[in-house]
Amino acid sequence: MIVMGIDIGSVAAKGYIISSGHHHRTIIPTGWSPREAGQTIIDQLLDASRIERDQVERIYVTGYGRVAFEQADKTITEIKCHARGIAELYPEVRTIIDIGGQDSKVIRIGEKGQVLDFAMNDKCAAGTGRFLQVMATALGLDVSELGDAEEPGEMQMISSMCTVFAESEIIGSLARGNPKGGIIAGLHQSVGKRVAAMARRMGIREQVAFTGGVAINPGVKRALEEELGTRIIVPEACQYTGALGAALLALENR
């Protein structure tokens, strides 16, 4: 059976195709149209696996763009998909921290990868990829450069959780001549603190996995490990966990 899982996030759209044991995956920027992004993902996956559209049995779609995408056989929340994806990769994980472009989530899962409880940030951008993106711009960097640019030894604390205030705090910090690497370490700590507070409210059970685009950033991983006092697993394809979960749920027809 051939199935697809597509995760249309606010920043990136990810896709996974599973066909008789083989799989392909792809990622593109979502851009302004989640619908077009979803279509591009389907085309790319079909190309890569040399399969026709009508050979695909089921397409499950997740992520914030799921609602606008008509080709979905079923839409499922990111929360359930991340849980299913991680259960496949690391069955011993009981807590998932997912930080994406516009929201962050903490998901507690059971032995079979079922969602037991979850918490999600509300409409504020603090503790999300968006927060880091705005700060990176203020520092004259691309968000992908933050992870390697931090210098924890010279950490400059960022006291403000609010994206708007934190941005002016950074500009002030730069003006005082503080090193960029230290400011970046402070930013990572700020995200870590915010998300760790949400995780502690729900209760952390080991092991802990970290997924979503922000998980690529080793500085945020380090900050979360320090805040939570536990080792954190980051899957090699951390951005694809939701798409993988959607594909697996499609395979299982759940």
């Binding site: 609602v67 929340t77 929360i79 359930k80 079922q114 999600m120 509300d122 409409k123």
Partner: protein
């Protein structure tokens, strides 16, 4: 809608601004309400009331005033309506439930005030709601700090009487509330010029009890599976009962209940019988706040009960009708109103017991506890509610939100994930 422009102009309303509201409401109502399948016939009345929302009932109130009667605007289920009706007055709940009025309130209130207070103050100051302009007096109460101070601002606009609600439920607190009712009687008698007698209060007690009994029948029907009425429709019934004529409210709710009971007999429902059943608990949803119910029901789950002031808290307890002297009646009123469990009391463990009992009676699969943003009382209490629900193995989620649409997608994801958990 019939033409009420002259009436609105006479009330001193800002017609231009009000037109904006009149334009958006029908569209919202059409999408959220009229698009539902298999609605009970009995909802026609409530649809009509919404279609004439700022016309038909305000016109009745103005007619009442023309005939020498008085109108009292209220903001809380602790205000004993019986007293007003016993003196030949009309009591009408005024709470604002639309984002439309929020910016008007923000002109004078701090940003971290709940949307219900902002909308209520804004509706009055912006002169965009007839209900807020008609009353001869506002009857308010001190159930939270935000309201307490907002009334001081509104007192510059309209005569205001504040009922002091106790914060605890000891015997002496019930005595204190009894004294508040006596003061309220004196005020209402003065404003209306009518004396309240044991006979008139006894009749008013029956009048309001009958409305409560009718609402109880509607809610009892929601205990059935498949559920014969959507949560959205039931919420609308309660919302309109806040300000409609109580005798008509009872009559309409009773005929709706007749129809729902017939539906149950026929096994007919508006959701499949395996639909997830949700209880919404927490802060009130003033008309036209249908946001959370709409999100939940659009995702295929049924809201079967509201533990809130626009739900069971409004009608669950009756006033003892056997009281025959004014003395006994006032005591009976005090005892009835002090049974209502709001987070403004400490401790408030009886509310948690209510939620557990309702979860069983209405056979709910999960509880969505919600509070309006910046409602410190309900958001803090939510921690204790969650603890008790965990101990009782009742799936639970807490949502804080306001009247705006900006968190709609995130709320949808959270509610959908909660429903996925319940459907496993």
């Amino acid at each position: 809608m019939a033409d009420y422009r002259e009436m609105w102009a006479d009330l001193g309303m800002d017609l231009e601004k009000h037109d904006v509201l009149c334009e958006v409401l029908p569209e919202a109502f059409g999408g959220i309400y009229l698009a539902q399948q298999d609605r009970p016939k009995g909802m026609d009345f409530y649809d009509f009331v919404v279609s004439e929302i700022h016309g038909v009932r305000p016109a009745e109130m103005l007619q009442h005033q023309k005939e020498g009667g008085k109108v009292f605007g209220t903001f809380c289920v602790y205000v004993p309506d019986e007293v007003v009706f016993a003196a030949g007055g009309i009591a009408a709940g005024l709470c604002g439930g639309s984002q439309f009025w929020v910016s008007g309130g923000e002109k004078v209130l701090p940003a971290n005030t709940c949307p219900l207070i902002k909308a209520s103050v804004g509706a009055r100051l912006d002169k965009t709601c007839p209900f807020f302009l008609i009353p001869d007096m506002y009857v308010a109460e001190n159930t939270c700090d935000g309201k307490k101070k907002a009334w001081e601002i509104l007192a510059g606009e309209v005569p205001m009487h504040i009922i002091d609600i106790p914060q605890m439920k000891r015997e002496r607190d019930i005595d204190a509330f009894e004294a508040e009712i006596r003061d309220f009687i004196a005020i209402v008698e003065k404003v209306t010029g009518n004396k309240i007698t044991a006979e008139s209060l006894g009749e008013a007690i029956k009048l309001i009890n009958n409305k409560r009994r009718a609402l109880q029948r509607v809610y009892n029907a929601r205990k059935a599976s498949p559920v014969p009425i959507s949560g959205k429709d039931a919420l609308l019934v309660t919302q309109i009962n806040f300000y409609d004529d109580p005798a008509r409210a009872a009559q309409m709710a009773n005929s709706l209940a007749d129809e729902l009971e017939q539906r149950i007999e026929n096994g007919f429902g508006v959701f499949p019988d395996n639909a997830v059943r949700i209880m919404v608990s927490g802060t009130p949803m003033a008309i036209p706040n249908w946001k959370l119910h709409h999100i939940i029901e659009s995702l295929g789950a049924a809201v079967v009960v509201e533990e809130s002031c626009t739900g069971t808290r409004y009608f669950e307890n009756l006033v003892d009708e056997s009281a025959s002297t004014l003395e006994e009646q006032i005591r009976a009123l005090a005892e009835r109103y002090m049974k209502t469990n709001c987070a403004c009391f400490t401790p408030n463990s009886a509310r948690v017991e209510d939620i557990i009992r309702l979860a069983d009676e209405y056979k709910v699969d999960g509880i969505i506890d919600t509070n309006l943003q910046f409602c410190n009382l309900y958001s803090t209490e939510s921690h204790l509610v969650k603890q008790s629900m965990n101990e009782s193995n009742l799936p639970f989620m807490h949502i804080e939100t306001d009247y705006s649409e900006q968190d709609f997608e995130q709320l949808r994801t959270r509610v959908e994930a909660f429903l996925e958990m319940l459907r496993k």
